[in-house]
């Protein structure tokens, strides 16, 4: 911003009340149309998915294995694979992510190393998912010897999810007013006790929302699992060292394979995946806003 521009900011020179009001109305309407168009687009996409996919959803589709060279049957192994991955990512990413969030919000004092940690976490969120895929392949599949397995996929997706969980936890903790901490400490609680008895229970809705958001991102990611163990076809895994199918990859491969198109499977899979994530997120958002109304300060 140059100095001359600053001077221009507050000025009566071009004051023209009627003209200004007309421009105001035009801009207001225009930006509103843009915003509403954007929102309509999202709703259109969801509606489109629903209309194209709802016809394929039935019990067999949800519970059967793929049949007839992937053109019939169901997608249960892919659903199970995605559930497996969600469980693994929760096991790895939630403890570390929540602990890091607590560390940043409650324990760390402003210093250079802590600043570096924050920048690193902000940057982790921007690393392309396919780069996580390469990393997971090199680190978990090859170096640690997990091969193409659920474990390698889960660890890779946990890395993708980590920054989301950390940021959400930190934000949730920061929103708790300081008086709560001070009151607990005035009653003689140590920091650990304050955290366990006062801070964490109050921040729980926020932390859980962030965790679920992170998990649903992980569940929808395709690129990080491409090289670490996702399979075109595999039975439902019984332990974490097996490769597995997963919904996003199943969708990708069914949508792009040119030889035996099976549109009902493609759209059904897309609806199951999106529906799973949307319903979870809608549920958690409702729960959070209900909790928030109760906890007002």
């Amino acid at each position: 911003m140059s100095g001359s521009k600053r001077k221009e900011v507050i000025t009566f020179s071009d004051y023209d009340s009627r003209g200004a009001r007309r421009v105001e109305a035009i801009v207001r309407t225009f930006t509103m149309i843009v915003t509403i168009a954007m929102m309509t687009l999202v709703l259109f996409l969801l509606a489109y998915l629903f209309v194209r996919g709802v016809g394929s959803i039935n019990w067999q589709f949800l519970s059967d294995i793929p049949r007839d060279r992937m053109t019939g049957g169901g997608i249960w192994p892919a659903i199970a694979g995605t559930l497996w991955l969600i469980a693994l990512v929760s096991a790895f990413a939630l403890p570390i992510g929540i602990a890091t969030g607590i560390y940043l919000a409650e324990i760390a004092k402003p210093s250079r190393p802590v600043r570096v940690l924050r920048v690193a976490i902000a940057n982790m969120a921007g690393v392309p998912s396919v780069v996580y895929g390469l990393f997971g392949f090199a680190a978990f599949s090859l170096a640690l010897g997990f091969g193409k397995s659920l474990l390698a996929m889960g660890l890779t997706l946990a890395c993708v999810t980590l920054p989301v969980v950390i940021t959400a936890t930190e934000e949730a903790l920061k929103q708790i007013p300081n008086e709560q901490r001070q009151a607990a400490m005035a009653l003689g609680c140590t920091r650990a006790r304050t955290l366990g008895k006062v801070i964490l229970p109050t921040a729980l809705p926020g932390i859980l929302t962030g965790a679920i958001l992170g998990l649903s991102r992980a569940a929808g990611e395709t690129a990080p699992i491409l090289f670490t163990g996702v399979a075109f076809f595999a039975p439902v895994a019984t332990d974490v060292m097996q490769p597995s199918m997963a919904l996003p990859y199943h969708l990708y491969i069914m949508a792009t394979q040119p030889t035996t198109p099976a549109p009902h499977i493609v759209w059904g899979t897309a609806l199951v995946l999106t529906g799973m994530l949307s319903i979870t997120n809608a549920a958690i958002a409702t729960w959070r806003s209900a909790k928030r109304r109760k906890l007002q300060w």
């Binding site: 009566f12 200004a20 992510g97 890091t100 950390i166 007013p177 400490m185 650990a192 996003p248």
Partner: protein
Amino acid sequence: MNNPANTKKNRIIRFQTGLAESGQTTFNGLRNTRGLDSAATIFISVLGWTAIFVLIGIAAFLIQSSLRAFDEVGIWSMIAGSGWFPTSSNARYGFLPAQVGSIWVTTVALSACVPIGVLSAVYLSEFASKRFREAAKTVIEFMVTIPSVVFGLIGLAVLVPLIRQHLPVDSGLVALTAGLVVGIVCLPTIISISEDALRSVPSELRQGSFALGNTRWQTAYKVILPAASSGVFAAVMLGMGRAIGETMVVLMLAGNAGIIPASPLEAARTMTGTIAQETGEVVRGSVHFSVLFTLGLVLFVITFAINLFADMILERSRKKWRR
């Protein structure tokens, strides 16, 4: 960081609590709470630092796996090489087709989503009622939950036929198609970060401008946008980082051609698409394998630089309004 736990007042209180605990008097009926306290603190702090090892690990593994390509192909002939023929007998590993493809897709994506995103952010922060804003935020949150592979699928079904019908292209799988869909994927990032930037401008500035007789729009473009410009710019940078890193959409829609695309109306391959498509198929430890890691390293360095830059701008604009 504006951490409430570290205000001066709070530090004093912590100090006093510490005094109380160091004596034998405990108010909460627990003995040895100090030991527990420091154990918990240390445990959390150690876990807190593990995140940074992931980032270091990414860089380390990418570099380590790229060494063979550095050695046998040479970094310069990869970054500036114009031919990508990894499987021919006289293999060439030039990144230019993928880099130019990424640039086209990103350019299209940003020219689609920056105007829409910033205008929406202005509306939401300056004009919209609280209720409308909440509704819009819910919709934007929904947008974030839709996986990019689903966007890719909808692009294939809806946009590809449209592009093929109305534009002079052979197939609809061109950089333009991929760019438009990537633009939609980046929208939430741009809207929410620039809206945050606009709303973090202190309300005194807004009120002062109203008091001088400015309308909302005059206030927005004379006062608020200039004041929030760095934040909005950071939002665009972060959107750009997302666009460059988006994988599934471009893999499904960009066409993955081998040549350097001269315009967005040609099929293109991007850096992300190339890695995603070829890494699963190459022989482990081969030159081609190593080259793909180098491509990943290039991608990592580019996005890292963009994010670092955006982060610095955001931090500075946060400091500007802190009192």
